[in-house]
């Protein structure tokens, strides 16, 4: 009897202990999952309700092949907007494929932004030697339709991609030109071209002037040969012009910085996902000629890293306007099903520790250009270019 009592007691204890342990383990394991689902519970419930309503009552049809994908794409694209980051977006399968195939096609050589008023693509810059330059297209033109499809209908980003295409193909652009209040139809032939990202000249016999339109894989090579050539022609100081220069390749900018800067940290990149920043350093070799950099409010991204780094290491004097303040960078992160998110994942930090995102890089000396002159920037003569004249004066203080 007593033995049985002990046995029953032990058994009872075992059951309770096992139940307790199982409950704790299960709860611990599930809670991670439940927590994750719980956060999406609201979305889950609503989506399910909306889905039920639509599938029972919607009079139209949803294409079984890609209609549902479109719904998922639409919802995910909307969800990403909750970041409030203008540079992050969702890439559906088609656009993601386009984004990595685009290297095979030819772009027409324009920089653009979105024009809200006419719901079109405004041309802000035309590259040297590009198909756009060989066409009637002008800076300031607003492209409202491409090959008959309006930008409004297709969306800005996707439309910009449609400007590129196979070598030697043609595209017909419907363009609004505000200066003459004209609607034009402009045909651009996408001939292959090597983008010429820099142009240079000698000013007043001893000042080398180099204009950088963009930092791409060819820029470093063109820059260093232009630099050498100008020195051979007698340049004793340089004006580097990064006005209107935006986007570009960090490695390209770093190579040029390395050439101009003695041993120093050039820039660091803080990845959100990594605890230690990636540091870009310069070796001891560097040029010794005095340099003045001109930037303006349209200088952005990698171009700001360029001027900010030169300012912080003391390798150049920066003049002009406070820059645009795009100090973050994005990467495409694959979602594994052929789609991706383009996400802001890192921030640039200048050698002084300054983060310029939102604030812009402040030049050593402010020098401005009137709106009227900005509009005709590409046709401005050296004499009329107040910022260039200011840069030359600053350089003269050093080279006499």
């Amino acid at each position: 009897m007593r033995k049985k009592g002990v046995r029953l007691g032990t058994l009872f204890f075992l059951i309770v202990a096992t139940a307790f342990v199982t409950a704790v383990v299960t709860y611990y394991y599930l809670s991670a999952v439940i927590d994750d689902l719980g956060r999406n519970q609201q979305l889950y419930t609503k989506l399910n309700n909306v889905n039920k309503m639509i599938s029972s009552s919607y009079i139209g049809t949803i294409d079984p092949l890609d209609g549902y994908d479109a719904i998922v794409d639409g919802a995910v694209a909307g969800y990403i907007n909750g970041l409030g980051d203008p540079y992050s977006y969702y890439l559906d399968e088609k656009n993601y494929t386009l984004s990595y195939l685009s290297e095979d096609s030819v772009d027409i050589g324009v920089k653009t932004d979105y024009d809200y008023n006419s719901k079109g693509i405004r041309v802000t810059f035309i590259k040297n030697g590009s198909p756009a330059q060989n066409s009637e297209l002008q800076v300031g033109d607003v492209i409202v339709a491409i090959d008959g499809t309006t930008v409004d209908e297709r969306g800005y980003r996707s439309s910009v991609q449609r400007l590129s295409g196979a070598v030697d193909s043609e595209t017909v652009l419907s363009v609004y030109r505000a200066t003459t209040d004209e609607n034009l139809s402009i045909t651009v032939r996408r001939t292959a071209y090597t983008p010429n990202t820099i142009s240079y000249k000698l000013i007043e016999n001893d000042i080398g002037y180099i204009l950088i339109d963009e930092f791409d894989s060819t820029t470093y090579k063109s820059f260093s040969s232009a630099f050498t050539e100008l020195i051979e022609k007698g340049a004793r100081g340089f004006v580097l012009d990064v006005r209107f220069c935006y986007s570009g390749d960090l490695d390209s900018a770093v190579s040029i910085l390395d050439m101009l800067t003695p041993s120093a940290i050039l820039v660091s990149v803080n990845e959100k996902s990594s605890s230690s920043p990636t540091l870009y350093r310069s070796d001891e070799k560097s040029t010794t000629v005095p340099i003045v950099v001109i930037q303006n409010a349209e200088t952005s991204g990698v171009a700001e890293v360029f001027s900010g780094s030169l300012r912080d290491t003391g390798s150049a004097v920066v003049i002009g306007e406070i820059s645009a303040g795009l100090g973050i960078g994005q990467r495409d992160i694959s979602l594994g099903d052929g789609t991706a998110i383009h996400l802001s994942t890192y921030e640039y930090v200048l050698p002084s520790g300054e983060k310029f995102n939102g604030a812009g890089v402040t030049p050593n000396f402010i020098s401005e250009l009137s709106e009227e002159k900005k509009e005709i920037f590409s046709e401005l003569s050296d004499e009329d270019d107040d910022q260039l004249q200011f840069a030359i004066a600053k350089l003269r203080e050093q080279i006499g």
């Binding site: 046995r7 058994l11 075992l14 059951i15 096992t18 139940a19 199982t22 409950a23 299960t26 599930l30 439940i34 689902l37 719980g38 956060r39 999406n40 519970q41 609201q42 889950y44 419930t45 609503k46 989506l47 399910n48 309700n49 909306v50 889905n51 309503m53 029972s56 009552s57 919607y58 009079i59 139209g60 949803i62 209609g67 549902y68 719904i71 998922v72 794409d73 639409g74 919802a75 995910v76 909307g78 969800y79 990403i80 907007n81 909750g82 970041l83 409030g84 980051d85 990845e271 959100k272 996902s273 973050i328 992160i333 979602l335 594994g336 998110i341 996400l343 802001s344 994942t345 890192y346």
Partner: protein
């Protein structure tokens, strides 16, 4: 040994049973979180989970979950190939319900959007003063132009700034200076929420009852229409001209109730739902069998077209004016548990002749147009200056 083995076996069995039971109970409470049963929802939730994880780890921006979810649902519904489908968040849904009721807030002056975003010396042209609005009560008239608000000239202001200075919280007052002809008049208007007068009526040409229906709002249009009809019948009307020009539509029940006052018992509306067809019969309790003519234009839509098409089919009423908008599909709205809602197309309808005008519009029996100037002055035109109304009177003559 045997005994021991028995104990070990029973302990193991007890252990397994307890674990299984415990796990089942836990899962029962949480299991529904894992099942949705819908492929689209599952795919989407899976993606959103993945995105949450990526954003958490990599994005330098924080995700505002609330906004993200609202955006996702909005985009989700917008992806449907349905021009009239919309997702409403809670606030927007309340506004929408007010709109269906016929409730407005503000001063009740409809402004003709100016050609330029910057307001010129002529101010803002009031196209229509909504019936029963604070503006009407104060004495402001259609075709007055607002030139100053609270003593400040609006010339040179942007359209949005000017309109925002007129709008404000209910109960507050604003002084509006209008230009009427050559004189300037100040009106003090108290902003309030109000139910619009949807029906205006008068006797014209001696014995023709003229009834203009601005909108088929659920709370106001029916009772106001009865009042108009009774009053004109009592005054001895021998025919009716119903004017649904610029009437954007409204509530389905309301237009059916109004039609019941005018038509004999017959097939009134044929409704085609996703899974069934319904025929709505008129009640046969009409108040009048007098001849009628209907005025329509390109802005007569939805319920206004149903009204016109039914009167043409059942009362042989000629349509005068220009081809209508062409909306022959209807939406139902569904409220979700958290106060948000959605509407989408759930039925396609036509009247007895089964003429399908969706996407086409009703073609008038007598086509008469207004000039652009007459359109701007629409709400002050009368039987001597309105070519469409003059035509309707001519047509009426042939009916009596």
């Amino acid at each position: 040994m045997n005994k021991n083995r028995g104990i070990i076996v029973s302990v193991i069995v007890t252990f397994i049973v307890t674990v299984a039971l415990c796990f089942s109970v836990m899962f029962m409470f949480t299991g529904d979180l894992f099942l949705s049963g819908d492929e689209t929802t599952d795919t989407l939730l899976e993606k959103i989970n993945q995105i949450n994880y990526l954003i958490d780890g990599k994005s330098i921006y924080e995700l505002d979950k609330e906004t993200a979810i609202e955006n996702a649902l909005y985009s989700y519904v917008a992806t449907l190939d349905d021009d009239y489908a919309t997702y409403f968040d809670k606030d927007y849904y309340e506004d929408y319900l007010d709109e269906v009721r016929g409730a407005y807030s503000g001063i009740g002056a409809q402004i003709l959007a100016p050609a330029s975003d910057i307001i010129g010396e002529n101010g803002l042209f009031i196209y229509r003063v909504i019936g029963n609005s604070p503006a009407e009560k104060a004495g402001i008239q259609s075709t007055d132009s607002i030139i100053a608000v609270d003593g400040n000239s609006i010339s040179g202001m942007t359209y949005n700034d000017a309109v925002n200075s007129i709008l404000g919280d209910p109960g507050t007052s604003v002084t509006v200076t209008v230009k009427r002809g050559e004189t300037s008049i100040d009106f003090t208007v108290t902003r309030e929420s109000f139910l619009a007068r949807d029906v205006d009526y008068k006797m014209i040409d001696g014995d023709i009852g003229f009834i203009r229906i601005h909108e088929f709002s659920s709370e106001t249009a029916y009772s106001q229409f009865i009042e108009a009809l009774d009053s004109l019948i009592a005054e001895g009307a021998t025919g009716f001209i119903f004017d649904v020009r610029n009437n954007p539509g409204g509530d389905y029940e309301t237009v059916v109730n109004i039609l019941n006052l005018l038509v004999d018992r017959d097939e009134l509306v044929i409704l085609k739902y996703k899974d069934r067809e319904e025929i709505e019969y008129s009640t046969g309790n009409r108040k009048t069998d007098l001849p009628c003519v209907v005025l329509i234009n390109e802005s007569s839509a939805s319920a206004a077209e149903l009204f016109s098409s039914a009167l043409r089919d059942l009362n042989s009423a000629p349509l005068v004016g220009t081809t209508s908008y062409g909306k022959g599909v209807g939406q139902e709205y569904y409220e979700l548990s958290d106060g948000s809602g959605l509407k989408f197309t759930t039925f396609h309808y036509m009247t007895k002749s089964r003429l399908d005008y969706d996407g086409i519009g009703l073609i008038p029996d007598y086509e008469t147009e207004l000039t652009e100037e007459q359109k701007n002055y629409f709400y002050v035109l009368d039987e001597t200056s309105d070519p469409q109304l003059i035509k309707a009177l001519e047509v009426m003559d042939t009916l009596r």
